[in-house]
């Protein structure tokens, strides 16, 4: 295989389930999970005579995402019916948008591993309703080979935004960066919990290969990638498959392929047929959407700081490294950093604590740190370290206690304060020199590294509270004095 002369052309279609209180077209509660068919109304089941009414907040969310992606917001747009028969769709048509989506052309800038930025075009963002879920009962557990299927419509009618990119993506890495960045934007906007594993964010990839300078190849649509990592793996596999196929004299067919995470392969799910005739037409049950300029500006004004801006602020104004900025961003710790800085804390020092101890605590407990720690407390901790009241070890213990809800750093510092009393420490140092006579002699003989064992012994004897600077000074006086 000689992939070097081949170029991949990739476009992504991302579906985002909105976290509105109610569904897209009915007042049914919109929440994940639940016993089968406990979250359906007569509208969601498509019972005869029922009618859809648009959730205004879902429209607002669509405009939010559109503005965040610099899309044109259509002055008027419509809902269309997309017609095809599938039993997870209660009406056998999906209410979606067609020729005029609510958000038109926009773009998303992604940052690659080498620090460069690439702009990926956004074709559109449109609103639609989700379908229900079918469970296939039988040995295979999959649709093929099932004996029968059971239908649960809890998810039917959940509001979706479908965000379609231009075919501007060339590598798996770019695709992963795009998905990561889009997810960060969606989370910053607060419009979805965007969990790829749970399907509240879903990504399909259109992949083709061609030799640069020649027309694009035939594309395959790949589905069922449940993480950023599997998106990358699936695209890499698919590029290699297509190149191999063409180089061995075959042709790529237009089809939908299923990514198998365990096997690490894609396989044919469904050929595109002439039967894919969705007979789109404007849904006569719904009227046009014409957001006023005032409304759009109101939404624009309410947008939060977007991830790219946040990262630029951290690396620029606050002088943090790109890596720390990304870590803080991905861990959701930027608000805590900002609050700490707001309380007079040093940004670089705060970033150290947040990217290490606090991030680790979040990972261990699964609890967002903002629920346990305030900027004021972190700033207080930093100043207790700065003025020497707390040593590094003491500060760690105090932070753990603060996160455990035991009190403020000022309240807890007493138990863990550094021992900086020279007389008290001198007595302990002398004791250690007697106990560790061998080590002491090594230092005297010129082996400076051996001093570590002596410092460690003093720290142990003081339960980590000894001021390390003072310990070193006292030892030096005695060993080299």
């Amino acid at each position: 295989m000689s992939t070097t002369e081949w170029e991949a052309v990739i476009g992504l279609e991302v579906h985002v389930e909105l976290n509105t209180r109610t569904k897209m077209f009915s007042d049914c509660p919109n929440s994940f999970g639940g016993d089968p068919n406990t979250r359906v109304t007569e509208v969601d089941l498509g019972l005869p005579g029922t009618l859809p009414v648009v959730n205004g907040r879902a429209v607002e969310y669509a405009i939010r995402l559109g503005l965040a992606l610099d899309c044109e917001i259509s002055p008027t747009s419509e809902f269309h019916r997309k017609n095809y028969f599938y039993p997870d769709m209660p009406k056998n048509y999906q209410i979606s948008q067609y020729d005029v989506p609510i958000c038109g052309l926009g773009h998303l800038d992604i940052v690659l591993g080498d620090g460069t930025t690439k702009r990926v075009g956004i074709t559109r963002v449109h609103m639609e309703e989700d379908a229900g879920k079918s469970t296939h009962v039988g040995e295979s557990g999959r649709v093929h080979g099932a004996d029968y299927s059971l239908l649960d419509y809890n998810r039917a009618g959940v509001p979706l935004l479908e965000c379609v990119s231009e075919p501007d993506i060339r590598t798996a890495e770019e695709a992963q960066a795009y998905l990561t960045e889009l997810r960060a934007i969606v989370l910053a906007l607060g419009i979805s919990d965007a969990k790829l594993e749970e399907g509240s964010m879903r990504c399909d990839a259109n992949v083709s290969v061609h030799r640069p300078g020649t027309p694009y190849g035939t594309r395959a649509e790949i589905k069922n990638m449940n993480s950023v990592r599997s998106l990358g793996r699936a695209i890499e596999y698919e590029i290699a498959r297509q190149v191999d196929l063409i180089e061995s004299g075959g042709t790529v067919v237009q089809e939908t392929r299923h990514w198998d995470e365990d096997a690490g392969t894609t396989s044919t799910l469904r050929r595109k047929e002439t039967l894919d005739d969705y007979r789109y037409f404007p849904d006569p049950d719904l009227v046009q959407i014409a957001p006023s300029q005032e409304w759009i500006e109101e939404i624009r004004a309410s947008l939060p700081e977007l991830p790219a801006t946040t990262r630029a602020r951290l690396t620029g104004d606050l002088g943090l490294s790109q890596k720390d900025a990304s870590t803080l961003y991905d861990a959701g710790l930027v608000p805590l950093l900002d609050a700490t800085v707001g309380e007079g804390g040093d940004a670089a020092e705060a970033a150290k604590w947040l990217t290490n101890e606090v991030a680790a605590w979040q990972n261990e407990t699964g609890t967002p740190a903002v629920q346990a720690l305030s900027g004021a407390h972190l700033a207080q901790l930093l100043s207790l370290v700065a003025d020497g009241t707390l040593g590094k070890g003491g500060a760690r213990t105090v932070l753990a206690d603060v996160l455990a809800g035991k009190g403020s750093p000022a309240e807890l510092a007493g138990d863990h304060a550094q021992v900086s009393d020279t007389d008290e420490l001198a007595a302990i140092v002398d004791q250690v020199l007697v106990e560790q006579a061998d080590a002491a002699q090594k230092v005297r003989d010129g082996n400076d590294k051996a001093i570590g064992a002596l410092v460690g012994a003093v720290m142990r004897a003081t339960k980590g509270k000894a001021n390390p600077g003072l310990v070193n000074q006292l030892l030096a006086e005695r060993l080299h004095g």
């Binding site: 089941l45 005869p48 009414v53 009406k91 007979r279």
Partner: protein
Amino acid sequence: MSELVTRTAAQLAAAMQAGEVSAVEVAQAHLDRIDATDDRTGAWLAMMGEDALQAAADVDARRARGDALGPLAGIPVAVKDIMCTRGTTTTAGSRMLEHFVPPYDATVVTRLRDADGIILGKTNMDEFAMGSSTENSAFKNTRNPWDLDRIPGGSSGGSAAAVAAYQAPISIGTDTGGSIRQPASVTGTVGIKPTYGRASRYGMIAFASSLDQAGTFGRTVHDAAAGLEAICGHDPRDSTSIPDPMTSYTEGLDRGVEGLRVGVVKEFMGEGSEPGVKAAISHSIERLAALGAEIVEVELPHADYGLPAYYLIAPSEASANLSRYDGVRYGLRVEGETTHEMMANTRAKGFGPEVKRRIMIGTYALSAGYFDAYYGQAQKVRTLIIRDFQAAFDRADVLVGATCPTVAFPLGDKTADPLAMYLNDVYAVPASLAGLPAMSLPVGFDEVSPQDDGRRGLPVGLQLVGPLLGEHVMLRTAAALEADLDLDLTPRGHNALETP
């Protein structure tokens, strides 16, 4: 048989108010009339007698206590079986929904109940409202009380026949392209469809969503208007429901037509009209002039394209609206190897020939490569028809013409020729496409029937069309003409249903 059934809703309301008769007696009289005659009219699909008597007793009790009562207190109403009724089968005239019991009421039904109307039961109709003779009902034929061998019109044939047969003073129908006006015309009843968006479509089984409107039948303009007033109004559950406040449809009906400009639509007096129809219409226009109206001729240059446009738009919308009947969640199921086979088998057995025909037309018209020439072009023609009406309403306050080209035709006459059946609605469809309020008023009889055998002929309806939300000017014109003509609308003739 109690003479109570011959009274109008207005007369019954007055009698009940005066304590001369109870709501239970009124309901019972109508239930008895149905019992005695429906073997011949075939107007009803499901009776709700027990609930009706209960509701009537409740009205009587509240009246006795001096409680405030709704505007239709104690008035029996027949409801087309296209309106969902909680706990009562709602079939839309289809095998597909033969055993479907909705867990909710249509908004129109809720409004009838809130108005203290007494719902007697559900009436027969063409399957999914597709037809002009009620012969497309999957269950039975409904017969015209004026001649039991003739059609009652359709698709709201059951509701029209029930009112003509004195089985109910008021009934609810739906009109997509004439399905209230044409049955009213051929049964000698008053049938009104309001402005599109005035009556909620929630819970009304959809045929063609951009055209479907509920409306009413009565034996007088006042009764039909009173029913309409009760069912209309804004409904947040229907996105196409008009939010503007309601105006009264029953007040000021007696204001006359003095000084009103009545536009006679040239295209609604066309070639295909029977001479008897033309004569009755001409006579009614002369009477309007005699009553002080200013008669003007108006043209709707694109009216001839209305029916072709309708037969693209309505089937297209229907093809999607009827996709939900697939044997999965409710309704008929016919088994198959796979889900898709089961769906296809279910739909093949559950739908009758006319419904399948229209699904096929609509599916074809929306399919790849045909959309622009068919659906797209039809929606443009719709714009032109709206503009035609706007121009006509610059010159006239209300428009008139024939409701349909012929009087009631014999059962079976047009079942073999779909296009001939469709042509019944050629005058009714333009107002539907333009969303305008429209009605049919009985204005005379077809006295020159070729098979004239001594009967006075079959009823002829005058169509009246108002501007958007201009129900009142249309109703006021109809009321003036009704009073002037003072017709006896009791079905009679050698083959008519017996008089109560």
